[in-house]
Symmetry: C2
Subunit: 86 residues, 2 copies
C-alpha cells in the first residue's frame, strides 16, 4: 500500500541553527566540500484505505507545518522507495 | 545543482510518541481514515562541487542518525522536485 509522505522544511530565508551546527561540525570529520545543511521533518502517513493527498495536505496545514516559517510538500511514496535503506 | 537528501526515520519497531500524538489529534479534525503517523527528519545537504553520496552516507552515519534506533536513506534529488511546493 503506498503511503503519503509530507516533507516540512524551513523556508529558505529562515535561519536553520540545527543545520548550521551540523555544517560547522563537518570540517572536524574531514569533510570540506559541503556548502549547506538544512534539517526539516519527514512525516509518513498511512491510511486505512486509499491514500488521500488532499486529506494529507489538510493535516499538514493544520498540524504538521507552521506556514509562516515552513514550506511543505505532500507526495505519494511506494513501499519500495521507503524500504530502500543503504 | 542536485542536492543530497538524507531521510532519517525511527526503526519500525521503535515507538514514536510524536507521531502518535499527531495520530491521536486527527479525529478531533474529523479525520478517521489514518492508521499511522511516523515523524522523522529530512536533511538536505548541498555540496560545493558534485554531490557525493558516499560522503553523505558517512555524514549520516556519524552525525545525523542513531543507528541503534533509526534507519536512514540517502538519495539524490534535483531542484525541480525540491521546489514542488503545493
Amino acid at each position: 500500500m503506498p503511503r503519503v509522505v509530507v516533507d516540512v522544511m524551513l523556508k529558505p530565508e529562515i535561519l536553520d541553527p540545527q543545520g548550521q551546527a551540523v555544517a560547522n561540525a563537518l570540517p572536524r570529520l574531514g569533510v570540506s566540500d559541503v556548502s549547506s545543511v538544512r534539517i526539516g521533518r519527514r512525516i509518513e502517513i498511512d491510511f486505512t484505505g486509499e491514500p488521500d493527498l488532499d486529506r494529507a495536505r489538510e493535516i499538514a496545514d493544520k498540524l504538521l507545518a507552521n506556514p509562516v516559517i515552513e514550506d511543505y510538500t505532500v507526495r505519494l511514496v511506494t513501499d519500495d522507495a521507503v524500504d530502500a535503506h543503504p
